[in-house]
């Protein structure tokens, strides 16, 4: 998969969770990329984001969420 397609795949996953009512609860980064924890009521899901473009996109979404809170 090209970097572009991989980043689009990860961006779509971020959108999917946010559109489904999940909120970004926690994030950490290490040598393997970015790990995000989304939460919805008692439900928690995790997403690993590998590509640079998707990590940029995620930060923009986190900013949007922060501004809305």
């Amino acid at each position: 998969m090209s970097d572009y397609l991989q980043s689009m795949d990860e961006i779509n996953k971020v959108d999917h969770f946010l559109d489904s009512g999940y909120k970004i609860q926690y994030v950490y980064e290490n040598l393997s990329g970015m790990f995000v924890e989304f939460g919805r009521q008692d439900e928690v899901v995790h997403l690993q984001i590998l590509t640079a473009d998707a990590r940029k996109y995620f930060a923009a979404k986190l900013q949007e969420q922060t501004l809305l809170q």
Partner: protein, 420 residues
């Protein structure tokens, strides 16, 4: 006609173009000829206890046919007695009262040595002093030049000693042979410097002769490191000027030095905070007359920009220079190839395919070879446009980002706000 006059910490000159302290300013004969040619000022070749030089002093690095892309020297400060230089400075100032003459000075780091030379030099009517804390070779082995300039405490202390007796503005010339030039620039400021100048030359060895295995240059089969200057060092110098210009603790004017070869280089240094510039290598390569084009070029540039005075150019780009962490991560440019201009050398494709992000495709259209950028994979690195030999064949164009601007620092702060 723009007003090209500058005022650097009280030192006035008819234009921003000074000759740097170096072989071109070794004597009254040379400096007077330079002033006749149009140079606005000259920093006299460094005065101090007369030294002895070696024979075979210069070497140049040529690259792909460009002569003197870089220049290396192992010449030391003046080898003439102080009295001889002072008489010629006096005569030159008398003949050219409106031109700036700055005396470059280098003595041992002792208070009485600085006091003595400052008083004697100022008595002949110089417009300012430049303390040479930069020469990297020869004198540094004796505790002077860059050996002093690499120790912030020595820079501050010696500047202070000079300021105790100086009646003219004091410029401190800094060495680039240090990790962070702002540290020594701050030290000079704390010592009372009226201005700073940078950069002196960079430690260098021009080359090794593959037949004889001697260094280039060599002195009877032996070499020693020299100081590197010329066009190759310009980006290093420009960054150092800019770093000092944007540092709030360094609130003194800057005289820019380092690879300045034409009016465009000079304008860039001034935009990045230099009040004026000093030139050496270009004059050594092409002669004093290059200043005519520099004056005409800068004048026309200012007129075209609607800027009335050269001083109004100073520092106009400083606020545009920042830390990497303050750059917008979401700013996006991509390469665009104009196949009507492209000569199909394929250098862009090769560069991208081998060393960047593999986003330039080769294809053919009606049997004609074509190149196309896959924009979604292009990271906007600029490499293709850099290696392209044809003007206008590749243009980097801005693409509106779907996401809002965000810097690395903002991003880290945002992510940090979620920490547990």
């Amino acid at each position: 006609m723009a007003d090209l006059r500058i005022d650097l910490a009280g030192i006035k000159s008819p234009n921003p173009f000074w000759l740097a302290s170096a072989p071109p300013t070794n004597s009254g004969y040379q400096v007077q000829r330079a002033f006749e040619a149009g140079w606005g000022g000259a920093v006299w070749k460094t005065l101090g206890e007369p030294i002895l030089n070696v024979s075979s002093r210069f070497a140049a690095v040529s690259y792909n046919g460009q002569r003197v892309a870089g220049f290396n020297n192992i010449e030391l400060i003046t080898d003439r007695p102080l009295e001889v230089n002072l008489k010629e400075i006096y005569d030159t100032k008398k003949r050219f009262p409106n031109h700036a003459i700055i005396a470059s000075l280098m003595v041992e780091p002792k208070q009485e040595k600085w006091h003595e030379i400052v008083k004697r030099v100022e008595d002949v009517g110089v417009d300012g002093l430049e303390l040479n804390f930069g020469c990297p070779h020869g004198m540094a082995e004796r505790g002077m030049g860059s050996a002093s300039g690499q120790v912030p405490e020595l820079v501050e202390k010696q500047t202070h000693w000079v300021k105790e007796v100086a009646r003219t503005p004091v410029i401190v010339k800094l060495t680039p042979n240090i990790t962070d030039i702002t540290v020594t620039a701050e030290a000079a400021t704390r010592g009372g410097a009226d201005a700073i100048s940078m950069i002196n030359t960079i430690n260098s060895l021009a080359g090794v002769d593959l037949d004889t295995w001697n260094t280039v240059p060599h002195v009877a089969g032996k070499g020693a490191h020299g100081g590197y200057c010329g066009p190759a060092v310009k980006p290093i110098a420009l960054n150092m000027v800019a770093e000092c210009a944007r540092n709030p603790l360094i609130d003194v004017p800057i005289s820019g030095i380092g690879g300045i070869s034409n009016w465009q280089d000079a304008a860039e240094f001034m935009l990045m905070g230099a009040t004026g510039v000093q030139v050496c290598t270009a004059a050594m390569h092409h002669g004093f007359s290059i200043v005519e084009d520099m004056i005409d070029g800068l004048n026309n540039y200012l007129d075209d920009k609607g800027i009335a005075a050269a001083m109004d150019l100073v520092g106009r780009s400083v606020l545009r220079y920042s830390d990497w962490g303050n750059l917008d991560l979401n700013y996006k440019i991509v390469a665009e190839i104009n196949n009507d201009v492209c000569i199909n050398c394929n250098k862009c494709h090769i560069a991208c395919e081998d060393t960047s992000h593999q986003c330039i495709d080769l294809y053919s259209e009606s049997d004609r070879p074509m190149l196309k950028v896959r924009e979604e994979d292009c990271v906007g690195c600029n490499l293709c446009s850099i290696v392209c030999p044809v003007d206008g064949a590749i243009t980097m164009v801005e693409r509106k980002s779907a996401i809002a601007p965000m810097t690395w620092n903002e991003r880290q702060s945002l992510i940090g706000s979620l920490s547990r």
